[in-house]
């Protein structure tokens, strides 16, 4: 056999594997559900859950022991913030706690009896605020609203005291502030929850749906083999191992490159999430993730011996991968071991890079690190898949010999 016929064999098997895999995908409703329904419907469901973006009008009860014009004014200011809705007054802390225990409010503000007096004397008045801590997002909204109230009320009182004291004009001119400070939020300027979480989630959905589909296909191979005395009639096992892996990968890419347009471009558009890059940038960055994920799926598939058990062993990993990616718990605070484990998941890099391309207007060039790591993973999982598939081919061939070559393959046609 000369080198040219080898090359020809490689390419023809690539084509045959690609075509056979497409046929297997489109004749399997379970796989279709993972490959098409999951990446199209899930992002929409997720975004619908988080789409209100901000936590507004959280019910709060006020215990006003001061009962003065100043304290009422203060309560009104608090009530006017976006985050807080004062639902009523309680006579004392016990009554307020009762309201909190009955889940009527999530915060209690206690204005002390000497509130107005201290302000009048030019002393500092302290107002305790008790926050329920089941959800950090509520606490965060409380704190940022209250900080604004504190600064605004402070400036007003300061002006009043300086006025009343008839203090020197220069000091008066200084009230306001001698230095402006300006906070700029990048990527997610509204600080909405959907805008933060969805760009990461959609990338993870791409990876997980791909792995689920591939492992279910692999489960199908095992089930067909069991029914046919160890031989899968649909398997093209005369293909060179590398072209077999490439052909399968090519099939998944054929489906996922267009799908990525929907998931990465249309979904953020539909819900007006932060979205500044364009598809060509996204796909050139996400492509190695899709390739690495396909190879990873082929590796994992060897261990999935039943179509349905793919769900059992893959579904829960989504939660683990979500945490490893650093979206909820930043990667700089992880131990080296977990960082390394996270490094091995293609979506970790996919999410990091995509979030910056999508939200921070970064260029693909600025994501060189993640981009190269994803190609590295591709290589790693390709080698893994190569050994696993070669081994599997051997098993299939020996089974075929055992059966004396009377397979049903011929009847199925190619």
């Amino acid at each position: 056999m000369n080198i040219f016929s080898n090359i020809k064999l490689w390419w023809t098997s690539l084509y045959r594997v690609w075509r056979r895999e497409l046929y297997l995908v489109f004749t399997d409703p379970g796989v279709m559900l993972f490959f098409f329904a999951l990446p199209t419907v899930y992002p929409i469901v997720y975004t619908l859950i988080y789409n209100p973006e901000l936590v507004r009008e959280i019910p709060v009860v006020v215990v006003d022991s001061s009962r003065t014009a100043a304290s009422r004014e203060f309560t009104r200011t608090v009530n006017q913030t976006e985050a807080i809705n004062v639902i009523g007054y309680a006579a004392n802390l016990n009554e307020a706690r009762e309201a909190m225990n009955s889940h009527e409010c999530f915060g209690i503000m206690e204005i002390p009896a000497d509130y107005a007096e201290r302000l009048g004397r030019g002393e500092q008045a302290i107002v305790p605020f008790y926050s329920e801590m089941s959800l950090l997002i509520r606490y965060r909204s409380f704190v940022s609203a209250l900080t604004d109230v504190q600064i605004a009320t402070g400036a007003r009182v300061q002006g009043e005291v300086l006025d009343a004291g008839g203090l020197i004009t220069q000091a008066k001119a200084m009230q306001g502030s001698p230095i402006n400070s300006e906070a700029n939020f990048m990527g997610d300027p509204t600080q909405g929850f959907a805008s933060f979480v969805i760009p990461g989630i959609i990338v993870l959905i791409l990876q997980q749906s791909l792995i689920l589909g591939i492992t279910m296909l692999a489960g199908g191979i095992h089930e067909r083999s069991r029914r046919n005395r160890g031989v899968d009639p649909m398997l093209i096992d005369d293909a060179p191992v590398s072209s077999f892996i490439m052909g399968k990968t090519l099939c998944y890419l054929t489906l996922y490159v267009p799908l990525a347009y929907y998931t990465l471009c249309l979904v953020p558009d539909m819900f007006s999430l932060p979205h500044v890059g364009d598809y060509m940038e996204y796909i050139s960055y996400i492509l190695p993730m899709l390739v690495a994920t396909s190879m990873l799926g082929i590796c994992l598939g060897v261990f999935v011996t039943e179509r349905e058990s793919s769900m059992l062993v893959i579904v829960f990993t989504s939660v683990i991968f979500l945490f490893l990616s650093g979206l909820t718990w930043p990667r700089y605070a992880m131990s080296p071991f977990w960082t390394l484990v996270g490094d091995l998941v293609p979506a970790t890099w996919g999410m990091e890079g995509f979030i910056r391309l999508n939200g921070d207007h970064a260029s693909v060039y600025q994501q060189t690190d993640g981009y190269l790591k994803m190609w590295g993973l591709t290589l790693l999982y390709f080698i893994g898949a190569w050994f696993l598939v070669r081994n599997y081919f051997k098993l299939q061939r020996s089974a075929r010999l055992r059966n004396g070559n009377k397979t049903v393959a011929a009847t199925l046609g190619d």
Binding site: A125, S134, L135, G154, Q158, E182, F185, V197, M311, W329
Partner: protein, 386 residues
């Protein structure tokens, strides 16, 4: 009674017949618990990597840089020379924000020309973004306060009064139950039981519908004397036991080993996790009764299991969701376990206030009784649709 015992024995034999059950019921939940607790053992991811752009190079700008360096929230990892460099570092992911001190900052401050300090935070990552915002804001406020105080004192105002004038009103926030703002307490207590609930539902569906796939469901019913209730009880009681023990293990790791807040008698949460396991099993049985097909039923419980991490309102409150979306949270057992945890372990309020949550979990266990007949019919004529 003998029938039930036989059925239970059959259920036990099933669990030891394949490795996958041991993996899904013991290995995965135990390792995941260790994963979550160990991953976030620091509690709060302080020291977010940031940068300072100092275009002023004055003594004042250097003292601001030192103040940032001393901040608990942020770490000044880079001192860059231009705004452009800083943005580049944000976009390549090396920092989560930067503090910008413009040229002539000290000069303009002293001259009273009100210069602007600006800080930039990358909010695409919530926690580091928020932390660096907090750190930057504190430093900006302190710097401003220092200048105001100096001016007031130099104008002859008593320094004590000047101090009070800077901040006439202080709102002290008291985070009840989690004063350390520990992120791990908040995430582990919701995600680990959530994972357990997901696994319970997956395994329950798998063990029941797999009998139908393999066509062994007829034999399964026959061995239980033709009673669907006995058959289900025999299959599920061993799993209930194992999952409850795993649930107690999770609580031991969270409240014992990690010392997370546990402000109620322990049996309140023990009961909670036991009822969560049963409610999830019941939920899964109901799904199989409605859709007696292994693949579709598994897809449905996977969907609910994964979505329940979002829709039960661990991270975004149900009260703020759209009404039409939020209402689904009440259909998920995990939601009630979460509320029990919040009321009992975190807030330590009397059991009375959580009564409805326990009742809700109990109601879940009764729902599958409605579909037993249908399930029996399906078991007698098992059809496998791939």
């Amino acid at each position: 009674m003998k029938l039930l015992w036989n059925s239970i024995m059959r259920g036990c034999r099933l669990l030891v017949s394949r490795k996958i059950y041991f993996v899904m019921m013991v290995i995965v939940p135990v390792l995941s618990t260790i994963f979550f607790v160990d991953l976030m053992k620091e509690g709060l991811p302080l020291q977010a990597p940031t940068a300072v752009v100092d275009e002023d190079h004055s003594s004042m700008s250097r003292s601001i840089t030192r103040a940032l360096g001393a901040s608990q929230m942020v770490a000044v990892d880079y001192k860059v020379e231009s705004f452009h460099d800083a943005i580049d570092k944000v976009r390549s992911g090396r920092i989560f924000g930067f503090f910008y001190i413009p040229a002539n900052f000290e000069q303009e401050t002293v001259a009273g020309r009100t210069p602007t300090l600006s800080y930039y935070t990358n909010m695409t990552y919530y926690v580091p973004g928020t932390l660096s915002f907090k750190g930057f804001k504190t430093v900006a406020v302190t710097v401003t306060g220092g200048v105001v105080q100096t001016t007031l004192v130099s104008n002859g105002i008593d320094s004590g009064l000047a101090g009070a004038l800077l901040q006439p009103v202080v709102i002290q926030d008291h985070p009840i139950g989690n004063p350390w703002l520990n992120y791990s307490i908040y995430l582990c207590n919701s995600f680990v039981p959530g994972l357990l609930a997901l696994l319970v539902m997956l395994v329950t569906v798998y063990t029941i519908a797999d009998e139908m796939k393999r066509g062994t469901s007829i034999e399964w019913l026959r061995e239980s004397g033709g009673s669907m209730t006995v058959a289900l009880a025999g299959k599920l009681i061993p799993q209930t036991l194992i999952f409850t023990v795993i649930g107690l293990f999770i609580q031991a790791v969270l409240y014992g080993f990690s010392h997370f807040p546990m402000n109620c008698p322990a049996w309140h949460v023990w009961l909670g996790v036991f009822m969560l396991v049963i409610a999830c099993q019941a939920f899964a049985v109901t799904v199989v009764e409605i859709l007696p097909n292994l693949r579709i039923a598994l897809s449905i419980v996977s969907l609910t299991g994964i979505l329940s991490f979002s829709i039960t309102g661990f991270s975004f409150p149900v009260q703020s969701m759209y009404g039409g979306v939020g209402i689904f949270s009440y259909l998920i057992p995990l939601r009630y376990y979460f509320l029990i945890y919040v009321d009992q372990a975190l807030n330590g309020i009397p059991l009375y206030y959580s009564r409805y949550y326990y009742i809700a979990l109990a109601v879940f266990t009764l729902v599958p009784l409605l579909g037993l007949k249908r399930l029996k019919k399906q078991c007698l004529k098992p059809v496998y649709i791939p």
